[in-house]
Symmetry: C2
Subunit: 566 residues, 2 copies
């Protein structure tokens, strides 16, 4: 059997199971569906919620991170400041025969090793030369390539007073726009982080690959604000003996511990290394197979121009290696962009080790004359005058911070020459951002947990999900629904569900073997069977998913075990 065929067969069976069992389904399917949109169904909904919980707990446990939650509808000005209006785009071409839009780079994958690195004119030349068929209708008449912004747009408000807006392409901007509140919350002491779980949107031109490329996705980002001049104080002790798979921007892939790669200068910043290490642990706790995890460093020309270092966490599964997490040192780019656009201070205060003595030679206002002359504006006039150089000449027409103009006469000002002791300065913090594609991570948790044994009609499927993310904690199975077994099982089912953090299903249909198989298929960690012995002595059979091992224990003991493990 050719390996490719084998992989495809498994992927189709896995996808079919996820749909049939209500884990992940194409959204709006009864209405014909919508490409790039998925539902988490009656089983998948809790898987998603549990993955989010583990993610949240993992970062909150650092003690210097808070969670926030911002709107997805975002005014134009915010995304203009962040650079998304200008730069969040793909190269698109439209089939002149059927009107279907396609991504130019995707269609040219058979004709170039890495088409998404090409410029628009290079892509155009390649498209003209290769002339690939339209994936929808097979024609080869393509429009000129154009850059298409990938944000969903909408309008806030009604009628002509409505304001242009977009659905956010990432959650990160929320941590930047609320930076002043976060800085206040941490009592103005760096470093600290803020994170957000929520929806992101990307109006893909032609989505494909199931859960890997979605138009609406669950994401989770953490922005960790640091003083670029302060020494980082991360304790790497727990990772000194854990080797990981690293693919550096230059040179060959190698195995190393993360602190060693930092010491050797492959990882460029200790806080980036810290978030790589912590992310490694998180993915392990979620059930990711560590043999299918690698860190890939971005090449200089692959990074945003402002980024200082960037590593993707790639996970291997049915779609090959897929980027699931990006850990980027973004410098001061984002806060600076919002400061420039709004005039608001997006900074932190840093005390000098010693106060600095500064020579002041310039101007100030004469309160007795300037006060009556400028009244409410006197403060702004003073600030403006004090910012002028020593060789300024008066009268002068000055534009104040609020945009108004003030004419300042010689009598309003006086020259100042003195020394001043300055305790510190305002600076723009740098930020290290681990950004997580939750849907892609969930896909790989499932892909790594899904195991088939046998084949054809004898195919047996087990999902080895960790307890922490298994969507259903236990299945309660009455051997028969008679002689009181159904009632005991119902009661046990309800008692389990009433335990905080425990969700059980009740399943009475088919043979016990079929019911075990049904539970194993969606990764239920244990089955509790109520049988004739239960009627006699109040014990149930506890069957472990992973080993098939069966033990008898009392109903109270079974409930206790499940509620303490939740």
């Amino acid at each position: 059997m050719v390996e490719g065929q084998n992989v495809m067969g498994r992927l189709e069976r896995l996808t079919g199971m996820l749909r049939r069992r209500g884990v992940i389904l194409p959204a709006f399917e009864i209405h014909g569906g919508a490409k790039g949109l998925y539902d988490f169904g009656p089983v998948g909904g809790r898987l998603r919620a549990k993955v989010q919980d583990v993610w949240r707990d993992h970062w909150l446990s650092q003690g210097d991170v808070v969670e926030i939650s911002c709107p997805t509808v975002t005014p134009f000005a915010v995304l203009e400041a962040s650079g998304h209006v200008a730069e969040f785009s793909d190269f698109m071409t439209v089939c002149q025969a059927c009107n279907e839009a396609s991504r130019a780079d995707t269609m040219l994958e058979a004709h170039h090793p890495n088409p998404d690195a090409l410029s628009m004119s290079e892509l155009q030349a390649l498209l003209d030369e290769a002339s690939p068929p339209c994936p929808a209708c097979g024609a080869t008449e393509w429009s000129s390539i154009a850059a298409e912004n990938l944000m969903f747009d909408t309008v806030i408000g009604a009628g002509s007073s409505g304001r242009a807006a977009f659905l956010r392409p990432e959650t990160a901007q929320g941590m930047f726009t609320t930076y002043p509140a976060i800085y206040r919350h941490f009592r103005e002491r760096l470093p600290f982080g803020a994170m957000q779980l929520g929806r992101g949107y990307r109006n893909e031109i032609s989505p494909r690959q199931g859960m890997i490329r979605l138009r609406e996705f669950n994401m989770a980002e953490l922005e960790y604000f640091i003083d670029p001049e302060a020494e980082a104080s991360h304790d790497f002790t727990p990772w000194r003996s854990t080797s990981v798979h690293l693919v550096p921007a230059e040179g060959d892939p190698f195995q190393s511990t993360i602190p060693d790669a930092l010491d050797n200068g492959v990882i460029l910043h200790p806080t980036v290394a810290w978030y790589m290490a912590r992310t490694h642990d998180l993915l392990h706790a979620l059930g990711i197979d560590l043999d299918k995890l690698r860190f890939r460093q971005h090449a200089r020309d692959e990074m945003a121009h402002y980024a200082l270092d960037c590593w993707d966490v790639e996970l291997h599964g049915s779609y090959g290696w897929v980027e699931c997490v990006g850990i980027a040192h973004r410098g001061c780019y984002d806060l600076e962009a919002h400061e420039r656009a709004t005039g608001q201070r997006m900074r932190a205060w840093r005390n000098y080790a010693e106060p600095k003595i500064v020579e002041i030679d310039g101007w100030t206002t004469d309160g007795a004359k300037a006060g009556p002359a400028f009244r409410a504006l006197a403060g702004q006039v003073k600030a403006k005058v004090e910012s002028l150089p020593a060789d300024a000449a008066f009268p002068a027409s000055l534009i104040l911070e609020n945009g108004e103009e003030a004419v300042v006469e010689p009598e309003h000002v006086r020259r100042v020459q003195r020394t001043e002791s300055v305790a510190g300065e305002w600076f723009i913090p740098h930020v290290v951002e681990p950004a997580f594609g939750i849907d892609r991570i969930i896909w790989h948790i499932i892909d790594h947990a899904y195991q088939e044994a046998g084949d054809g009609d004898d195919l047996y499927v087990r999902m080895h999900l960790h307890h922490d993310v298994a969507p259903i904690d236990a299945a309660v199975l009455p051997l028969f629904e008679k002689d009181g077994m159904g009632e005991i099982a119902s009661d046990l089912h309800l008692r389990l569900c009433a335990s905080r953090g425990v969700l059980a299903v009740y399943d009475a249909s088919g043979s016990i073997g079929r019911r075990y198989a049904r539970a194993d298929e969606i990764g239920v960690p244990c089955c509790l069977t109520v049988d004739h012995t239960t009627l006699e002595d109040g014990t149930v059979t506890w069957r472990e998913r992973d080993t098939g091992e069966q033990t008898r224990l009392s109903i109270d003991e079974a409930i206790h075990r499940l509620s303490t493990r939740a």
Copy 2:
């Protein structure tokens, strides 16, 4: 002091505190803000997450409810089927002087006791007569009133192949469009429920009242599917002695237990009563003051035409009585609407108590002739032929389920007359929906918990939040950051945060009294102080928020107490 002024003062102080402390803030404020959009900040983010957790656990504990998660971007066809395209609108008028849009009913509140019950022509007449000033510019030149759909619209996909879509106005449609998967999950046994937490969107014409009327909001809905002919089996024992405040559609408000109001025929359906009772308990667990909670029944002309009974839970706070939950018996409206629009079966199977003997007089196909003639379509032709009445004539041209046409000749069919035993039937389940406005509930949790003592500069604020929703579980306060107290406090802070479900803050600035006040203001349930005695015997002071009571206990004991209470 006039009562109204007092209330306004408290509301302004409360709102100011929420903003200053990073609980709830106007969104995108550094960019000038956007009406109707709010952020949950560094403190509020976890309050929101905890409220959602309590909500989720409460309903999952029933054992017959699952959680799902669907996209917010929703194709036109889905919301056309649900009725939102035609009916989700407000009456708008636009100021001809400044172009600002306003809701006609809101502007006419001073001129009519209940303007939102008026028809468009009645509103137009009242607007012409009252001619209220524009709230933005004061002019009185209004455009004709028009119905404005309140959904945010967008487009899925690029270029001319894009499809019209909206941001969902509610999460409920997700439970209807995925009904077939939910029905399968529950092994085709009613009753069962599915729920979803997530964002909803409503492009308000002129939002106001802070958190009460938002353009993007957090909502949570549960759809509970029932067989309308089955006897409901809810156990009301726990609510037989709990009296609640009921405002029926007819007659005077009264106090009663929920089961009594059901028995007396005021509440019209046992499942509606069940969700009223369970919602009452949930709101109590979240910290809502039960004296500020009432159930208000919709009048016949206030309900949607298909609704069989509907009760709002109204909470009283700074904005008066506000609808925070709606509990509606929606009949079979939603599933029927989607079945009609899609042709998919949105039904459940019901076995008759006894099989019914049915006379069949009609047609079927002759397999030997129809098979070869229609090949792959033979099954659809058979289904269609069997649906024809006895007096059908052949040849006949039939439209099949897939839309194709088949010409059926007399030789393809034969007459059948026989009796058949039918075991049951397909029917459309009814649905009872409790729908929660999470932001409004959070607002009232805060409003009910917020207590002021003293006034002016001596004002002391305490938020009596339940442990289950308090965003910060403990504050760790080193008396001084010297002699090792800072290190012990840091270590305690980190150990607390490392306990699952516990979030602590470290606060070292200002006097202990100021730090207690800061913690009380945002509802931190306890403060742990590290002082000189800690250096000697390893104990800390545990101070309770609500009583101010202080006890000394060991660091391990403090950590244990907090991690078991989380």
